[in-house]
Amino acid sequence: MNNNAYNATELMIINAARLLQDGDQVFVGVGIPNLACNLARRTHAPNLQMIYEAGVIGARPERLPLSIGDPTLVSGATAVCSMYDVFTLYLQRGNVDVGFLGGAQIDQFGNINATVIGDYFHPKVRLPGSGGSMEIAAWANRCYIITPHQKRRFPARVDFHTSVGFLDGGSARSRTGVRGKGPQAVVTNLGILTPNSDGEMILSFLHPGCTVEQVRENTGWEIKISPNLKQTTPPRQEELLILREELDPQGIYVK
């Protein structure tokens, strides 16, 4: 196998990791966000600190956590607190730099639906619901969304606002008074969307080998293309090796 070949999941994790800064306090979920944080910590952000909604601060997981409250998060962490404390003292108070979000639908203004497809009271498909995401999206200084680029996942408007991005755009988000700056990037397997000054998510980066056409075909609205459209740096061998050999050696998430 060519060591520099990579799959879509690896591409998303590596690009999400690069968005993190050294010293960031990150409110993190299991799966791809957890891998992105651990990769960042082993490369350019050794002082990044992971906070889990279960109430674990400064986790140093020795194995790949498989649930949001995996015991490996606790052993070796700097602190454990109640969920009420983690959501108030850390998140509501403004001590979280970065939140990771995902969901079944993400719209033109970065709003997320993780609750229901169809009518709420007569659901066509029930999804898991908010969990921590309603508050993370509002109160983390900046949020990143990681999701595969598919048309059904990118409708113009979401069926249900589980957590908000820029609402209807313009000043709609800032008028709500929420402290966080909202979604700063949507990382997909085709590229990276970022908000323009109107809060609309536009294509700002393409991954190597991906095209604007592919992005247009897989987005449910007329997506705008940044006048400064750039290309992301291909995954480096170091990043791929850490992911495959240290972080997810059994290929549970990085298939």
Binding site: V30, L66, G69, D70, M83, Y84, Q92, S130, V178
Partner: protein
């Protein structure tokens, strides 16, 4: 000096005494320490019309819903953590056979905090997301009397009974937990009655040697049950690991009425208690879930 009052009873007796048809039940524990053995005992005693509240209903409530114990769920995340969805909960909501009341984690936990603190409501900052408050009238906007700005309020959650699994407690119910402490303390203080299940029941002296670790005081506890391995397939920090294989297997075991009935017949109705369940799981599973030891440094409280 007063005599310590022993509250030690069997889990069967505790459920019989403190869990009634129609009760609002909170089986505590965020991923960690979920009291599965108590859920199974409630199923064995065929309780019905329960209102089941938990941030994450998890497999414990999916099993109780499948067994016909529940009328309603109160929750904030309805997935099978790390796996997918909870079929019986999801289908109950989709086909209208199950009532539900939905929150975000923070508002669910805030309801417990209000209940535990004896407050009429708990305020939270606004999140900009208005759909959940539109569909759940328990969310109310109120005006902050100091700034005049709007805040969100949720009412107290006051369960009839909380069930809390702990690593160790004494016979009076002074309970110590380490690892993820989720919402156990709040659930216990918010509830009318508290059932503790414990990996170990220890002398009062052990508890008193490390008072900072006590999360739940005996004064609010009604029953203390010695139930080792109560939390399987969830876990108890330092005692046994989460059985992720079982969390994955539940997808298949829960897929239709036949498979779920077969599971309940074999693993709930087919065993008399948790001890028999644990033996039945067998040595291979027991060995796989046993963690290596990692001790904390001791602290010195000093003698005064």
């Amino acid at each position: 000096m007063r005599e310590m009052m022993s509250k030690v009873v069997s889990l069967q007796e505790a459920i019989q005494t403190f869990v009634h048809d129609g009760d609002l039940v909170y089986a505590a524990g965020f991923t960690h320490l979920i009291p599965f053995a108590a859920g199974h005992e409630i199923i064995r005693q065929k309780r019905k019309d329960l209102i089941l509240a938990r941030a994450t209903p998890d497999l414990i409530y999916d099993q109780m819903i499948a067994a016909g114990c529940a009328r309603k769920v109160v929750f904030s995340y309805s997935g099978n953590p790390g796996v997918g969805s909870l079929k019986w909960l999801r289908e109950g909501m989709q086909n209208g056979t199950l009532e539900w009341e939905e929150y975000s984690h923070f508002s669910m936990i805030s309801r417990l905090q209000a209940g535990a603190s004896g407050l009429p409501f708990m305020p939270m900052k606004l999140t900009g997301a208005t759909d959940l408050e539109r569909v759940n009238p328990q969310y109310r906007r109120i005006t902050d009397p100091y700034t005049g700005e709007e805040v969100m309020a949720v009412p107290p959650l006051l369960p009839d009974v909380a069930i809390v699994h702990v690593q160790r407690c004494d016979a009076e119910g002074n309970a110590q937990i380490w690892g993820i402490i989720g919402e156990q303390k709040e659930a216990a203080f918010a509830s009318k009655h508290v059932i503790l299940t414990a990996e170990e029941i220890v002398d009062e002296e052990v508890i008193r040697s490390d008072p900072n670790r006590t999360l739940i005081p005996g004064m609010i506890v009604n029953a203390v049950c010695h139930v080792p391995y109560c939390a399987h397939p969830s876990y108890t920090q330092g005692y046994y690991d989460r059985d992720n294989d079982f969390y994955l297997a539940w997808e298949e075991l829960s897929k239709d009425e036949q498979t779920v009935q077969a599971y309940l017949d074999e693993w709930v109705f087919g065993v008399k208690d948790r001890d028999e369940y644990w033996q039945k799981l067998g040595e291979e599973v027991q060995k796989r879930l046993k963690p290596k030891s990692k001790l904390s440094y001791p602290v010195d409280y000093g003698s005064y």
